[in-house]
Amino acid sequence: MSRPSILTAENLSKNYNGLLVLKGVSLAMESGEFVSLVGKSGCGKTTLLSILSGLERPTEGKVVLNGKEITAASEDDLALFRRENVGFVFQSFNLIPTLSAWENVALPLFPVKMAREQRRKRAVELLEMMEMGHRLDHLPWALSGGEKQRVAIARALINSPKIIFADEPTGNLDSRTGEAIMDILSRLNREEGVAILMVTHEQEVASKAERIIRMHDGEVVS
């Protein structure tokens, strides 16, 4: 039985100052699906991920994410949509250096009217799920690369998103730590039903996904 669609992209193009980096890309993802987006450096993977997640607008085409056409939404609507529906995991972790691990996890909830204890409770639950319960109050500089990425994954989960966009999540990690992070992402996909779209250039990492989409020179080739 096919699963409902979580993401549909139709005929996406992106032009940066005359340079066409995406050329009529169309793709679809089902809820709970784990998809890898692979291709050589500069082929447009990250640009596509940014457009699909609502961080960037396409020059042409449309994206429907979790039932909402995000290409037509305003900046603030997009921000609110991302807060409620999307999680991000970046290669460089992108943690706030002045905030502790649990505060980084709770960061998306800071503008939300919510008791501090409630926020902390949710953040602690997620960090414990990531086996980071012993590092709650540590600042990012005191964490290893793997620990930082675990904190970043916990942050991506704070609003119970339907989909996580991961951009080279193991790119800054050694192979062993990278494997551990991939195990976490796989478990989240398998046990929590979170859809994952992951950009990577490593074949081994990509193979953890259910489906691999290959890109070349701004186009989806398979």
Binding site: T46, T47, S50, L55, E56, E75, D76, A79, L80, R82, R83, E84, F88, F90, Q91, S92, N94, I96, P97, T98, L99, E103, L107, P108, F110, P111, R116, L139, R155, N159, D167, E168, G171
Partner: protein, 416 residues
């Protein structure tokens, strides 16, 4: 806006925070100190008049007597008619008028500066009642004299002696030390106003220069409502005519020669320059700080912070810094004011108010009233500076927050 994030950001980014706070606090301190110094000079300029309970003194210049014998008017102070005094008392804003009569008495043995005073008045030289060192103060209308301590020492005059003055004799009832008093309205010999008026009326020399009736005087000490000093001074000049000499605190300020004293505009311009520089420094520092955080802002936006959330956070951070800068600026200014309070300022007394004939030894020298600069910081000034600091912080945070929140997360979050 999240307070926890705000305080952790300010605490952990100490270099950024301190640079912003220090720049602004120095500007705020400068603004306060410049204005406080200006206020202090203005208050210092009030001191000579305030010590005799007045805000304005009035006299009228006249001619030099042909012959210096007996009682004569100083050329800077000739007759002020009783009717003129009555008109002055009716000017709106005038709260009180003290009268005195200043004479130079040329006797064969010595020259005396004589001042006739209203013994029961709270305005003018009757304030000397608190400076009597020996004997007693004058009684109203009694033919008796009080002598300055230096004059008494020079001529060996003691309480109980009889002092000849312009052909009359006055028992000396007291010795007064006017050295610590205001440098205006002081003399060698003091009589009650009535006795001095009687001497003036009977002096042919004096009458030939400026006719004088028994109730006339030649010095007035006027107390006015503070905010109407300038208006009252203008009315006085109109009533007294071209030769009037009306001294207000501004007259002393002009002689002080300090930039702070001369011009409110200078203080205003310097304050504005200080605050402009401080504001620009704060803006530049905060702009640098925020630019360094472009990636962080990108993360905030990526995880769902709206434009408004980002601006509110940036504004809250800069307002908090400016609040601390305001407090620090006020504290620095208080410390500066404390230090400057030890400065002594010498206020020149206008020559026409100097009682000593210029042809006598020391008579041509400039007289100064030396006091400590009365430094204090009014709460209104501190409050204004604090508000200004917060306003600068709010505007800086708002402008920079609006600018930085336009950043596209995808532009700053692309992996290396």
């Amino acid at each position: 806006m999240d307070l926890r994030y705000l305080f952790k950001e300010l605490y952990h980014q100490q270099r950024r925070t301190l640079a912003s706070i220090l720049g602004l606090s120095v500007g705020i301190a400068l603004l306060i100190i410049l204005n406080a110094v200006s206020i202090a000079y203005r208050e210092a300029a009030h001191a000579p008049l305030r010590e005799i309970g007045a805000d304005i003194t009035v006299q009228r210049a006249g001619d030099v007597p042909e012959e210096l014998t007996g009682a004569v008017f100083p050329c800077s102070a000739v007759t002020i008619r009783k009717e003129e005094v009555e008109t002055i008392q009716a000017i709106a804003g005038v709260q009180g008028v003290g009268r005195a009569l200043l004479l130079w008495v040329f006797d064969p043995e010595r020259v005396s500066i004589l001042l006739g005073i209203e013994t029961e008045s709270s305005l003018g030289p009757a304030i000397l009642r608190f400076s009597v060192t020996e004997g007693r103060f004058l009684d109203r209308g009694r033919p008796e004299a009080m002598v300055d301590v230096a004059f008494a020492r020079q001529f060996g005059i003691r309480v109980g002696d009889t002092l000849p003055l312009a052909g009359k004799k006055f028992p000396v009832v007291g010795i007064v030390d006017a050295s610590q008093a205001a440098k205006i309205a002081v003399a060698n010999v003091y009589l009650s106003l009535q006795e001095a008026q009687a001497l003036a009326v009977s002096s042919k020399q004096l009458q030939s220069v400026s006719p004088f009736d028994p109730d006339d005087v030649n010095l007035l000490f006027i107390k006015t409502e503070q905010e109407r000093i300038k208006d009252v001074a203008a009315s006085l000049r109109e009533i007294m005519g071209k030769k009037s000499q009306v001294a207000t605190p501004d007259s002393f300020l002009k002689l002080l020669g300090s930039l702070f004293a001369i011009s409110e505009k200078f203080t205003m311009a310097a304050s504005l320059a200080a605050i402009l520089v401080a504001g620009l420094m704060a803006f530049k520092t905060m702009a640098g700080n925020i630019a360094e955080r472009a990636r962080e802002i990108g993360v905030l936006k990526a995880v769902g912070w709206t434009h408004r959330d980002v601006v509110a956070q940036m504004m809250a951070e800069s307002v908090t810094q400016s609040l601390v800068a305001g407090i620090m600026g006020i504290l620095i200014a208080f410390a500066g004011a404390l230090g400057l309070g030890f400065t002594q300022v010498s206020i020149p007394i206008p020559w026409e108010m100097s009682p000593t004939p210029h042809f006598l030894p020391g008579g041509g020298e400039q007289i100064f009233k030396t006091i400590r600069l009365p430094m204090h910081i009014p709460w209104t000034l501190a409050g204004f500076a604090m508000l200004l600091s917060i306003l600068i912080g709010g505007m800086t945070g708002g402008l920079l927050g609006r600018h930085i929140s336009r950043i596209k997360p995808s532009e700053v979050l692309r992996h290396e």
